[in-house]
Symmetry: D3
Subunit: 306 residues, 6 copies
């Protein structure tokens, strides 16, 4: 019998998504007290699941949360959740695949920090091809909001936690100026940090530049680009990058699990390079990325254009 609703793993069982319901005293609902990780499929194949789970483990260690599952178990469940949901995927679509764990439900009458143990969810959701297709055609208009990225002395940006309000406030700020714009927050020193779940690269005189890992979540897609660049004999420099560097770059692009690589058209309304996207090095990296994942992800996005 055909399945009418996506399923997800929830604390030991795979159930219809509508049954994955969180008690309101869960600490992740109340405090964002949880961590997650997120990969995607390419033509329905999961990409770099182990690399994502490695990072998930580091986030869990930092936060002091233990989901109690072996690596083997979480791998197998992740694969099963995708497999069970593939029949629901439309032609040419792909999934985000996420693992999420909260510290659990607050104990009533207990101390602030005590909980009844973690809530664990493994789930997938179709990628937003339609909503973002125009970005591959036009390039992304990036705006630096006035709000700064939380510094590592307060909360490590390397942890993929459920505390996203800083990034959300930055994104809402720039969308109030231009609903199509995407934010890249500056760090507390005024250098480029990151967008919501995304990394930024600049290209200048044939060299790739991207912010240091200290101030950003080092995305798996970012790491993939670094590896592809090395194969293409392109130099990649991790360095503090200023708005000046962005304004005077030859090319720029954003990486994220969902985007892979998407070109930037402008920073704060200053056109990058000659304004044509993608620039030649962005194009080479995009092609190499598509080869690696054996999926024309740009075409996949562009096919969803009105």
């Amino acid at each position: 019998m055909s399945q009418a609703e996506r399923v997800a793993y929830f604390n030991g069982q795979i159930v219809p998504e509508s049954q994955v319901l969180i008690p309101f005293r869960d600490r992740s609902f109340k405090y964002g007290d949880g961590v997650f990780d997120m990969t995607r499929t390419f033509d329905r194949r999961i990409f770099k699941l182990q690399e994502h789970l490695d990072r998930f483990d580091r986030s869990l260690k930092y936060a002091g949360i233990d989901h109690g599952l072996s690596r083997q178990a979480i791998t197998q469940i992740s694969e099963e959740v995708v497999a069970r949901n593939l029949p629901l995927l439309a032609e040419g679509e792909d999934y985000w695949l996420g693992q999420r764990v909260s510290r659990g439900v607050d104990l009533v009458g207990g101390d602030f920090w005590q909980s009844a143990g973690p809530n664990v969810i493994i789930e997938c959701t179709p990628l937003p091809f339609k909503a973002r297709a125009h970005l591959y055609r036009d390039g992304i208009d990036v705006i630096f909001p006035s709000v700064r990225r939380v510094p590592p002395e307060c909360l490590s940006p390397n942890v993929k936690s459920h505390n996203y309000l800083n990034l959300i406030m930055g994104d809402l700020e720039v969308k109030s100026y231009n609903p199509k714009a995407w934010s890249v927050l500056l760090d507390t020193r005024g250098f480029l940090a990151e967008g919501t779940g995304s990394n930024v690269f600049l290209v200048k005189d044939g060299v790739l530049y991207t912010p240091k890992e200290h101030y950003v979540l080092a995305g798996v897609s970012r790491e993939t680009v670094v590896e592809l660049a090395q194969e293409l004999k392109l130099t990649v420099v991790e360095e503090d990058l200023s708005p000046y560097d962005a304004y005077t770059a030859d090319e720029a692009f954003i990486t994220s699990t969902s985007f892979c690589i998407c070109p930037v058209h402008s920073f704060n309304n200053k056109i990058v390079g000659d304004g044509n996207v993608p620039g030649p090095i962005t194009k080479r990296l995009t092609d190499a990325y598509a080869d690696l994942v054996d999926c024309d992800f740009v075409g996949q996005y562009l096919r969803h254009l009105g």
Copy 2:
């Protein structure tokens, strides 16, 4: 027929708490993308509900979230939730009363920032008298963790949001040194900021000192203490306070909705004053607080001692 389970308001209805279940794609579960406020009852009477709702409104404005309820409606619901749950309260107990609202459930396939509209919860929970009773007898041992409070240029500490991981990491750090210790985070300049939902006061030469509002959530209990101090002709100074100020204070205490006032016994294991708690000014303020709320809250806590 007697009610066996607490009830809560959830998106238009008052239902048993076990039915207040949040879809896992709710942005507050995934991102802490929500705000809340929290007051308490004294002998079952709600304390300063309007002041809390004023702050709630400011948090909502900052976050750009609209719960769609009038002040009158949210007041009436809050009162009804408490009233409906009073029969479940044991003798000598009181309630925390909370209003929580998330930005809502992420739209699948939509843009990052789009949601299906807010989830609104109004709920109450018994205060943790037993878990904290010893703190009124012994005073709180405060430790300054190494992690610093998120600065206002990144996320306003004046907003009571669902992003608490910074405070939680600080608290877990100090509890790993001493499970009974409470954290007060320092701000990024090294001055005292705040604990998890709590404010700190120092007393020196008969004057009260507390950190400026810029770096902390200005608690309603903190404000109440300021008002009581003025009635008692005590000077209150809002100022940057250093660990030196804490170590050399004559007395110190913590305020929060649940604590009202609770004395501090030590900072980083340096005994405050002569180590006897509460100190004389803390005692006067505590008595005045109890008078104001017409409830011996200290006795209420101490009665729960082993």
Copy 3:
């Protein structure tokens, strides 16, 4: 015989403005190495000239520039320049009156810092009533740009110097989002600093708040508002103000020599108060300001509306 062109003082003489021409090696053209001050007339009467010249003196001392004129001389010249130009003023118009002095023309072949002595200009220009009239009707939409105000450890914001590029870059940034918007730069800690030649005030619960002088140029109009507030028995607090404070203010307004007082409609597109401008306290201060200067400056602006 009627004068066809405005005149200005230039190094000892009053000449037609078109003859006030600066050698291109003047250090203020090359380096912004000069200071100035700027007042205005109300119904053709000069406002607080001595207060402006006091500040001018402080700027000169800081920069180590000496224009060689006595206070009496500079006062008399300023008055004469205005008087000579009044016939050119259209009905209902007023003048900006400025004193500017550069360190002078670089010595060719000399050391970097040596010059041939100061260039001194005293001039006036009609106020931009038409360009700004809508701001009194609609309120100003203020945006905080991502670029931060230069901190006092680098160059004192209290000096009215010819180095404005930091402020200009902030203003161009926000005008690229919305051509009608005005910038208020945040300082390097993320608190409100100032706009281009303007100060910002917030009103909250009947109290006026404005940033401390450490991080802003303390405008004479700002000072005038403080004095008027005291006469109106309004409390004025100089304090660090965050975007949260701006978003949650009841009213807000900008002061500057040209604006006097002009209401703010929004900060970062968050409407201030109920969105009606001016708010009641802004209105009272505006009226008091008009009384003080004996000029309905708001009406003066509004009469220039399309």
Copy 4:
């Protein structure tokens, strides 16, 4: 007929310098709202003009100023200005060659940021050989002033703008202690930044160190030294450098368009190395520089002694 006065390009024409006169409402006179670049001749040959024009373009892009000339045109004009002025040059002299552009003259009655279009100047001036000759004989006494360099979050130090007051205040401060001293400003973290139009290098154990580009204007002479060092198989490290690094360096030197390379004798009156200038590696680089430009620039300076 012999030309009695240097000529310069000014908005489309080459005219005697005395006719290059700027209206006093030009935004670069009033606000330093302009950018420039500056190269020099060696034995009357222009050095790395294209590299300087590349940087000029980046400064223009950052500032949002457009001079409207093609690269070919600006090159040709620059060359012509030098050629026309060569006859005026004394034996053994050379020229600075500068391109300067302001945003233009403020529109009277318009908005703050509107101007009547750019003023463009291309000019040359004899290098100050006499004033600086002793520095090649004695080495430069560098002092770190108390004023800090403007940080990149406020105004990019990579832009060669007309806002030099921060650097000027630092230089005047140290010259008040010792008229022969030169300033190198520290950045806001206390690391070495740059002097007025100059970069600093340290030599330690045979390795060259110079501050990172983030906090300084990356001079073309600095870049030339880096290239020469690579040819000489010397390692060059761009790194944060502290006063300790300066005090304990074996050698140090300053680079600038006019200096090329000039040895440092002391930092804050602590003698560098054994006090003999130039040190051996400075000497090797100086010689290589002279070879590259085919001009004994040190001899050129020293010939102007006494």
Copy 5:
């Protein structure tokens, strides 16, 4: 029999100073791991000993050092040390009186932080009237060094500890420019902090300004000036003060135990006010100070002029 050598208290005994010898493994010799306080006599009477001992106690608490003496004992010893040494004092001289305690001698073979217990010294030394007399005649030339004062997040400036190297490096820096200059270090934000054992006051429009206690050691002389100012109906404001504030002050002075009040002649070679010292308010405070201590300390200094 007349005493030929000053005596001092050393760990329980009063002995000739030449017998107060510290083992070289004492932690204060090796690490500056000690605290002290210092008062003076006026016409041989000890000034505010209890206030100094109060501060001494706070320093000891911060450092975690316990000298084991009662307040009564330390008072009595201090008085006896002065009394025993008075016969050695020349006509018109006075004493500094200091209490010093180190954590003690490192245990050989023990852990880093363990010691054999405190070394306690109480001693007096003639004030340097001759070396400083010219400062009362000419005023102090203050220079802000490039080195910044250690911030409170690293070591509280409120503690009078034996770690003075930061202040010493600042003082040596300015004395290398001008041997007669005195340093006032700026804090890490660039505001005025303090000199070596001294505080700074500015006078502007009849109001006294001095840096906040957060960034400086709040001297007893500073506190005395605050009290005298209040008696003289002068307003005193504790506030962040910038170099601009110093340059544009009407008057300025330094306070310290030895100086009491000594006028400032210049900051960074910019003359304060009209250059005549002391200014009128400085003079009134100086006279009031002399009245309070019943000693013409200015005359006392000036009598030592060559």
Copy 6:
């Protein structure tokens, strides 16, 4: 005749240690105004004395102190002090060897900064094998205190001075939580700096990481590890390291003159790697270190276990 007491060099003579007594007015006792360096013996052979003396020279230059001895003399004295004391060393023990110099004794009646010239001490002391032996068995429990390391803009961490109170306060803080814990202070940006006389290394995916020299004293042992790593073909990266990096490292260890290499068991009570010490790379480096110094220093420590 057998020597009963260790001897030390003191201002020109080698004397019994009990005769190395410092006048209490010595500036290093009063202000920590001195510098030192410290090496050790391995099986009674002095390790890298010249490298330590090189650093000693840099510290002296920074502090502006001159001990007046040639390198040859200080080397010879150092060797002689060790040689003279070797007979007192128990079987299997080794010495710390230190050179210390203070600026000297304050001149009574002179200016603050004047002294009677340096006091020079060269001495040795047995290493604390017994007190620290358990650390090699169990690994070190490192805690990051709340107090931050003094930044280089205030006092260079590269100077081995007698101002250790910042480090001492950090160490006492963590020992108040756990007497066996060792501190590693964070710098003012929240990155790992150093412990008291020790450096920290992390190992991640086979690569070694250690904080940059800007924020720490670059230990000779640290440098030795870098050299050994290169011989073992291990990559070493000097980089800003966050608590996240520490928590998620595979291995970690501390280096110091006394420790050489000692494994870290936990950071802030989060176990490093699997908790077994030493980790494989730490073990390889330890073995290589032992080979280099031809001394099984780990065995040497472990033999002192209870």
